[in-house]
Amino acid sequence: MFWRRHSDLPLRGDASSRFLPWIVAVMVFLAVLAVAGLLAAQNVVGRWQWALSGTLTVQVPPPTDAKTAATLEGRIGQIVDLLRRTPGIASATPLSEPETRALLEPWLGAGTAIEELPLPRLIDVTLIPNAGVDFAALEGRLAALAPGATLDDHGRWLGDLVRLAQSVEAVAAAIVALVALAAVAAVVFAVRTGLAIHREVIDVLHLIGARDSYIAREFARQAFTLSLLGALLGALLAGGALAVLQRMGQGLDGAPAPMAGMLSLGLEMADWILLATVPLVAILLSVITARLSVIRALSRLV
């Protein structure tokens, strides 16, 4: 008690500093959610890419009249033969009509409506990894065998998904940047106010021989304490929010598998570790900002 070390600057009671923990808490909360969104978007794309790479879908249009309906099964068999003979293709499995309908049931529901819909027939194709299939030639042969049949390598769909994910990433990165900027502005404001309030004490410290770095250290220490409080609070709230979202995503078991995959955060241990660095970065940012702001402001003094 007797030798208790005090701060040489009475920054603790400053009105300008009082709101800083709350600002940092909000900033950390938003930044953690934004980074989580960014990681989730990356994970979704990764999962879909992984699931779809090395597969193709051949779509044979539904019969338009009785004649084509009668020959449909034969044509599908020919297409499957063609596919199986094509170099680079590991397997080709036609989906039956009930299997195709089952794929749509999660969206359209079971019942008579789906029974009456003219559905294309699908052939699920698995590729040999890195075999290099000539898709253009295959598409030409397919068209000759079954006019209207299409080859879908999921590229366009994946491309759209990647673009969507990239947009989400860009928005998240912009949010993180804005949040960081706002945090920096808040710290700069608090520091400048503190400098103005304690101008006389700073003068005395200077006259006694304190370097700018000594005074800056006092402000940085204060910024550390306040931003630590704010960062802990923000991280706690964000962690809670993410846990709830994660739990909600896991609770979508009854949902269609692709949709559940899209909605689930799917954050892994590495992602959580990365998220845990967000509050640390916020603390570091506020400490560095405080220090640099003070040194910059003091360097303008006589």
Partner: protein, 217 residues
């Protein structure tokens, strides 16, 4: 020296303080004593003229070098300028802490000095709870704790009784004997007359009298 467009505060002031000397800076209120001290302790830049401190021209000293120079100077401010949120002990320890002294050293020296200036019972007190004279002694202790090469005191005995004033001046003498150059600004001629140290006498911003002449360089 002048402040903005105001009148000239100091003019044609030229003197040299021999290292290890003891001087009184005398003169009536408003003569420019405090301003002169401010210039010497690097609290003000003169609008014209040249100041040399420790064999260095102050004008040519980079801002980053000022702290090292200021640590060689102990200052007793007229208005004390104690830090109100710090205890007496922490106020006095400030120059040592700023200079990076170890706590063990601070623990040894600061209470000893506070005892010497009669404040041994007030180490944990806040300045606001002390009388003017006690605050002045804290300010003096803070100025001398770092054993400065140059000690500047602006009316250091203005708020204390004669007995304490003499005691404080003996402290300054003791420091002077240890090699510190001392300059004390005071308008208490009675106190000055009790010692035989040279005087620099300021009147109307000019250095006059035998002290000034003898110290001029």
């Amino acid at each position: 020296m002048r402040f903005r467009d105001g009148p000239t505060v100091l003019e044609e002031v030229s003197f040299f303080l021999q290292s290890g000397s003891f001087h009184f800076l005398t003169g009536p209120s408003g003569a420019g004593k405090s301003t002169l001290l401010k210039i010497i302790y690097l609290g003000l830049k003169p609008t014209s003229g040249r100041v040399r401190l420790f064999d260095r021209d102050v004008a040519g000293i980079a801002r980053a070098e000022l702290p090292a120079l200021r640590r060689k100077i102990g200052v007793v401010f007229q208005d004390f300028r104690l830090l109100g949120h710090l205890s007496v002990l922490d106020n006095v320890a400030l120059p040592l802490r700023i200079a990076g002294a170890k706590e063990a050293l601070i623990r040894r020296h600061v209470p000893e000095l506070l005892d010497w200036v009669g404040l041994g019972e007030h180490v944990n007190a806040l300045p606001a709870t002390l009388s003017g004279g006690q605050q002045q002694r804290v300010a003096i202790a803070r100025a001398v704790i770092g054993r400065p090469k140059l000690l500047l005191a602006d009316e250091p005995t203005g708020n204390v009784d004669d007995q304490i004033a003499m005691r404080l001046l003996y402290l300054f003498e003791e420091l002077n004997r240890m090699g510190t150059t001392v300059m004390i600004a005071t308008h208490n001629q009675g106190l000055v007359d009790r010692f035989s140290y040279p005087q620099l006498h300021l009147r109307g911003g000019r250095l006059i009298g035998p002290g000034g002449d003898s110290a001029a360089a």
